[in-house]
């Protein structure tokens, strides 16, 4: 506790950061570098401990889907309060409601006693929200983006020079390196872009700040700095809300954690209660029932033994970019192979090359069936060779919002099954019914709009249509994004079943935990090439993470210096 008090005795202009935890925990000390801070006048912040955010019986629905159901929750100033839940639990909707972007259908939302009705009023009240989607104006400069919305109608609130100084100090500290304030943001990496939206919120000196999944786009070192920043804000009396589904980050970091499920608050944990186990218990308290309702896909026998499996997909000399090392990989029937890597390290490029969506710089991809070998050069040739692609980014790449459930399903197979250009409706309907049953898709009328389905069921439609083409290789790109825990488990079981039946499965995911227990091996990508392949017992969270950072399993030394 003493170190904690000591920090405040230093002059305000220079603070040595001692991120000391509250007395409940074992003290963990971490020191940051000495920095200059723009002092926050304490008088404008509500007293530490007062209720800063009040949400009472808030309901919000989008059409048939209820995102928030009588949700009630409170947060205090001077605390780090996590809002936790699976995808679809309503946490992002809550963030939007707090930010004034969405108005609740009913209930009370109060921030320091006032209700935000629009982003403008929310800012006046003193709420800043960093939304899940990184909102930047691409062809504007970094500086313009940082002060977006702050100026009045005709004159700026702060002079341009002051803006520059404040922005430079803050941003350079957060990012860790100097950022050119005049360049256009579209040229910057995802990490820097995320920092810019965070900095934008910080520059407003808010009383309440909400971070919606802000660590997802940050690289490893940045996440540490993020935590430091959050603690600093907390220490200054700001109410820090962290909306996330990455519960492993929360232990030992937040003061309280509220768990949302299906739009309601199922419980709040305090201090040392915040451990993964308890959070998981709370998060699945409702879906345990639902998960039990999901029928298990029939498990038919054991995996095809390695000896009887054959090579299905070969990748030779594949260069994902002109300067990358060539990749040589072979995938066998009955295998589930995980593809992992830090952001932009080539695993997405790889899967897109294999499915023919993009052309690699050079190399050859071949699919072998019995006697023939087909080379992949385009999405159509991949489809003909028996490769199916399933994406997790449904909204961008898979779902047609203007079409019905049946059409969303059938569109992939229309051309293939067409007779003289005419769609074979009978065949489409039969295949649809078959897949709906097989995958236990919860759907009403087939002619209803696709928007009437939940995220998980929409994903099942996408998977079903891929499977309807009877592929021999299934390539999935982050398929469990935005899908609830029950559907996630179902998908894993489905993949196991398909592999047992001989399918080759490529499974790209950003959540390392998914690989464990599912994949036969995990291929880790770095710099557009294969860095390491992990098999059997090597497939653990730590080893995969280490590989992503350049620590190969074979050697103890890092492959190249971590920047």
């Amino acid at each position: 506790m003493e170190e904690y008090l000591l920090a405040f005795k230093q002059p305000a202009s220079t603070l040595r950061y001692s991120a000391v935890q509250r007395s409940d925990f074992e003290p963990v000390e971490r020191t940051g570098s000495a920095v200059t801070v723009v002092p926050q006048p304490v008088a404008t912040l509500p007293q530490v401990g007062t209720e800063a955010v009040t949400v009472r019986d808030v309901c919000k629905s989008f059409g048939a889907t209820a995102a928030l159901r009588n949700c009630s929750f409170t947060a205090h100033s001077g605390e780090i309060h996590a809002v936790v839940g699976e995808n679809g639990s309503g946490k992002s909707t809550l963030a939007k409601v707090l930010g004034g972007v969405l108005a609740p259908d009913s209930g009370v939302v109060e921030i320091v006693g006032l209700t935000p009705t629009s982003p403008v009023s929310a800012q006046k009240i003193g709420v800043a929200v960093v939304f899940q989607e990184i909102l930047l104006a691409d062809n504007a400069s970094v500086l313009d983006n940082l002060y977006l919305g702050q100026d009045g109608l005709f004159r700026a609130k702060t002079s341009r020079r002051n803006k520059r100084t404040d922005a430079a100090e803050l941003l350079n500290r957060l990012v860790g390196t100097r950022v050119d304030l005049d360049q256009e943001v579209q040229a910057l990496t995802l990490n820097v872009r995320q920092w810019i939206v965070i900095a934008r919120a910080l520059l407003r000196k808010p009383k309440v700040i909400v971070f919606d999944e802000s660590t997802a786009a940050l690289d490893y070192e940045s996440v540490e700095r993020f935590f430091e920043e959050a603690r600093r804000l907390r220490d200054e009396g700001v109410c820090v809300l962290i909306v996330t589904h990455r519960i492993s980050e929360l232990t030992g970091f937040c003061d309280r954690a509220t768990v949302l499920q299906d739009g309601t608050n199922v419980g709040t944990l305090k201090g040392e209660e915040i451990v993964e186990k308890r959070l998981l218990e709370l998060m699945s308290s409702k879906t345990v029932v639902e998960a039990n309702e999901e029928p298990e896909p029939p498990v038919t026998g054991s995996r095809i033994a390695q000896e009887t499996s054959e090579e299905r997909l070969t990748v030779s000399g594949l260069k994902l970019s002109s300067k990358a090392r060539p990749i040589d990989l072979a995938f066998r029937t009955g295998e589930i192979v995980g593809l992992a890597g830090l952001e932009g390290q080539g695993q997405v490029k790889f899967i897109r090359a294999v499915t023919g969506i993009t052309r690699p710089a050079s190399g050859r991809i071949q699919v072998r069936r019995q006697t023939s070998a087909q080379t992949i050069g385009s999405a159509r040739s991949a489809d003909r060779a028996g490769i199916a692609y399933v994406t997790g980014d449904r909204k961008a790449e898979a779902v047609f919002p203007n079409l019905s459930v049946l059409e969303n399903f059938g569109i992939l197979g229309y051309r293939r099954g067409a007779r003289f250009g005419f769609i074979n409706r009978r065949q489409v309907k039969d295949t649809y019914n078959h897949q709906v049953e097989d995958l236990s898709i919860r759907v009403g009328r087939a002619s209803a709009s696709i928007n009437s389905l939940s995220g998980g069921n929409q994903q099942k439609i996408v998977i079903g249509r891929a499977l309807a083409a009877t592929p021999v290789i299934l390539a999935l790109n982050d398929p469990t994004r935005g899908v609830d825990i029950g559907a996630k488990h179902y998908l894993h079981e489905l993949l196991r079943r398909l592999a047992e039946q001989g399918m080759t499965v490529l499974f790209l995911s950003n959540e390392i935990e998914e690989f464990i227990g599912l994949c036969d091996r995990v291929v880790v990508f770095r710099e557009d090439a294969v860095f390491d392949t992990l098999v059997d017992e090597q497939i653990r969270g730590e080893t995969i993470l280490a590989a992503m950072f350049g620590y190969a399993e074979q050697s103890a030394k890092p492959d190249d210096p971590v920047q």
Partner: protein
Amino acid sequence: MPELSRATSAAKSFARRQTSLVTPTVLFAILFILAAIRGAGLLTANGVDGALIGAAPVLLATLAITTVAIAGPAGVDLSIGPAMTLINIEIVIELPKAGITGPIAVFACAIGLGIALQVLMGLIIAFLRVSTVVVSLALYLILDGFNTVLLPEPGGSAPGWLANWGSETRLMSPVLYTLIGSFVLWTLISRTTLFRNIRLMGADARTAYASGVRLIPTRIGAHVITGVFVGLASIMYTGLLGSADPTAGTSYTLSAVTALILGGASLAGGRAKGLGAVLGAMDIWLISYVLGTFNFGLNASYWVEVATGGVLVVALLVGAFLANEHLGHGWAGRMLRGNRSH
């Protein structure tokens, strides 16, 4: 030296951001040389004067629709031609009936009417969230029809001080003054935070919204600015025409839109520049000037159409190539963008 490197990097990023101006500038150079070769008279004082007068209405009309194009989305304002015609009719026929003929009053009324029309459009676009092109299409039809109903045949004559702008021979004419005044006004306006917010709103409306930019006032503001320049363009047009004509002005829609595109504007919003609009308008005018120096006889206007359409398409292709929006990884685009890879 950190200041020097900062300055050079700022200059470099500034230059890189001006890629949209490459097309109209290059085009201008080509056309200017052609024009000078074909008609040496252009380079005399008389020639420049004539050029100014001829190009002025298109210039101002293009500048007018630039703001709406920046505000996005799909910011093509098709109503500019009929709007100019309506104000023209007002200046020549209707206002004198009410005794309004003095320069200050006429300027005020023209600008006021321009603002009124634009704000009407702006309110519909802002509150109903309908794209500009469709609303302006409706307004085009309404105004075009209304103009002919209001004045079936060309006629009348502009107020005295305005009537002989077209036959001015001195360089320092009211035409030049009005043009310079308009440019100064534009420069001042483009430095306001309102204008910056318009640009940001046009580039990404939801980001602007989430960051606290008030979309509706900003959009109305964009239309007010446009309205001012619509009024100025109409005055210039009336000065050149000397009378009122119910249909001659509609061609300004096509000319202004073409000039806007030639000037490098992207209809998606957030990108157009005033300088680009001016260059584009001059390119349009130069095309008809250069073609006028050939003796096409009956086919003169057709050749202008062919050239205008052709140049437009080529300009779009070149613009796409430079911006590397889709056409492969062109070396020119890479050079200008500093070799960043997607």
